[in-house]
């Protein structure tokens, strides 16, 4: 029996993707680093490492600790600054076989707006992710995503700086992520990325000192998946804009948990460090999963494990 092809394409707040997989910011370089190991035409999009207005040296080493079911990192947003990136790195990404999403970070509302403005002016950039949730910079890094009012003001400023699809990346390190999500939506976000890393630390019991140069870091990988799935589930009930679910996704079954909780697409970060072929494999297995259930499109199952979730079609009053 020849089955009709399964449609894995998704639209994330105006960002049209052939595959529902976005490579997590900070985990995939510019994509060029992974080109010898992965087929970039079989992934949805690459989210670039977060950029700031001014150059940043990043945190002291060590920046990485492997943990039993994940990875602790404290890179500290090392980057040469948005102007250099736009001129030297982003300009070279025109030929990439998938869309490129820029990621903006900052320490004030104005900085975020300026970085968004530069990304907005770069034709190679298809959408902008607002990283208001980096746990690895000493002072204000994460405060934006931890405060509803600050979230609203930074998203408003970013919204004013770009017409490209704006994805706001939320932190799991909050009491009520749904409340923050609502503010981001109200302030003009087109989509939400849920979630960034979970704060954590590791201690060297021989030397009696923290293992990370920055002391605290962000935990990613399978260890955080249940935390992230719940965050998506709660956010999906609170907003109407699409969600990019992420946190510990390493196979199609993991991705399906997020999609069934209400994510339209998934982010894949740490799993690329195990095997860069994971995102392609997830796409193949998602297609098999849908085909085996006689489903035609990934969009049909978004939020289906979430009783409080209304699909975009249902919202428009069209059950099709």
């Amino acid at each position: 029996m020849v089955r009709p092809p399964v449609d894995l394409s998704v639209n994330v707040g105006g960002l049209a993707l052939r595959y529902p997989t976005l490579m997590g910011s900070g985990c995939y370089g510019t994509g060029a680093e992974f080109a010898p190991f992965a087929d970039l035409s079989r992934i949805g999009a690459i989210v670039l490492k977060s950029a700031t207005l001014a150059p940043r040296l990043g945190n002291a080493m060590p920046r990485l600790v492997h943990t039993p079911a994940g990875l602790l990192n404290a890179i500290g947003l090392q980057n040469p600054g948005i102007d250099w990136l736009v001129e030297h790195e982003i300009a070279a990404l025109g030929g990439m076989p998938c869309p490129i999403v820029g990621s903006a970070a900052g320490f004030s509302v104005d900085e975020y707006a300026q970085v968004c403005g530069r990304l907005d002016a770069s034709p190679e950039i298809s959408a902008i992710e607002l990283n208001i949730s980096c746990p690895n910079v000493a002072s204000e890094g994460e405060t934006f995503a931890c405060d509803a009012n600050l979230t609203a003001s930074v998203v408003r400023a970013a919204r004013a700086a770009t017409r490209k699809p704006l994805i706001v990346k939320l932190s799991p390190n909050v009491t009520d992520i749904a409340a923050i999500a609502r503010e981001a939506e109200r302030a003009g976000a087109d989509a939400l990325a849920v979630v960034n890393t979970v704060r954590g630390m590791a201690i060297d019991v021989e030397r009696w000192e923290p293992r990370l140069g920055n002391v605290a870091g962000g935990l990613s990988g399978p260890a955080i998946r249940p935390i992230a799935v719940l965050a998506v589930y709660e956010v999906a009930r609170a907003v109407r804009i699409p969600i990019v679910g992420q946190g510990g996704i390493a196979n199609a079954s993991d991705a399906l948990e997020f999609i069934l909780a209400g994510a339209s697409a998934v982010g894949i970060g740490t799993a690329n460090f195990l095997d860069p072929r994971v995102p392609e494999r997830i796409a193949v297995e998602l297609a098999e999963y849908l085909a085996s259930r006689n489903l035609r499109a990934i969009s049909e199952i978004v939020g289906r494990a979430n009783a409080g979730f209304a699909t975009p079609e249902q919202r428009e009053g069209d059950a099709g």
Binding site: F34, F37, I75, Q78, T270
Partner: protein, 269 residues
């Protein structure tokens, strides 16, 4: 059809030797990798099962058909790799990193290796010996039992100077103490723990001998994508030409991408 990614090697284990308890040499059938691997480069080995990251391992040995990896069993991921048996598959990504620069290498070279650092220097020794150089291996470990693969280096033609922390083989103390009191070579290559590399750099600087140091660090991606493995270099370093100018004249380069081999004189650690 998916375009097959060019640096992914689906290999098969052809031999497994336990050099000593807890130190394993795995040989894989991997002709394409063997054909392009250069001394000092490394691979990311994907442990089968539920691991959350691949393992960076130096390319220890190679012939026309196969490559060998030498590693110490240190955690969950290396334990899984150590359990592999001949016939079983293993995926390797690589070769990665810059490797040693042996072009126009002089005829008198010292190689300094500490512990698992031995895994990254054999191919360099072999290439230098083939070119007719005198190669002295200064090899240190905690104890004699851990000075694995000495015969491999000796039979290839290396002169070997040993050092152990407990004095069970060779000099009691640091291998760099042995280097410091030896006749100076025209080039030093080194791989091992950071204190050993620092000491090597100091000796090289005071004797005005060029040194290439292969740095060891925890990697996540191993391919330059995450910036988790940086080391400070002088701004003018030939290894960081594409880095923007910084006010303090120092750039932080990725050990996995710009390295793992750095010229000792360009490191600012």
């Amino acid at each position: 059809m998916a375009v097959s990614a060019s640096r992914v090697h689906e290999t098969r284990v052809v031999a497994r030797i336990e050099a000593t308890a807890g130190v394993v040499v795995l040989r894989m059938q991997a002709p394409e990798l063997a054909a392009i691997a250069r001394p000092g480069q490394f691979v990311m080995a994907i442990p089968p099962g539920e691991a959350s990251a691949a393992v960076a391992l130096g390319l220890y040995d190679a012939d026309a058909e196969s490559v060998s990896l030498l590693f110490f069993v240190a955690g969950k991921r290396t334990k899984v790799l150590a359990a592999l048996r001949p016939g079983e598959p293993l995926v390797l990504l690589g070769p990665l990193g810059n490797g040693f620069d042996l072009r126009d290498a002089p005829k008198d070279v010292a190689i300094v290796a500490g512990g698992v650092g031995i895994a990254s220097v054999l191919l360099a020794a072999l290439e230098l010996l083939r070119a007719g150089a005198r190669v002295r291996l200064f090899y240190g470990a905690r104890t004699a039992r851990l000075l694995v693969e000495r015969e491999r280096f000796a039979s290839a033609g290396c002169e070997i100077v040993l050092a152990t922390d407990d004095g069970t083989a060779g000099l009691r103390g640091f291998v760099t103490d042995a280097l410091a009191s030896a006749h100076m070579p025209a080039l030093i290559l080194a791989c091992g723990p950071t204190p050993m590399l620092r000491a090597t750099a100091t000796i090289a600087a005071s004797a005005n001998v060029p040194a290439q140091l292969a740095l060891e660090e925890t990697f996540a991606c191993g391919v330059g994508g995450c910036w988790g493995c940086v080391v400070p270099l002088v701004q003018e370093s030939a290894q960081a030409p594409h880095f923007p100018k910084t006010r303090d004249g120092i750039v932080r380069a990725r050990i996995c991408a710009e390295g793992p081999v750095f010229s000792a004189s360009e490191l600012r650690w």
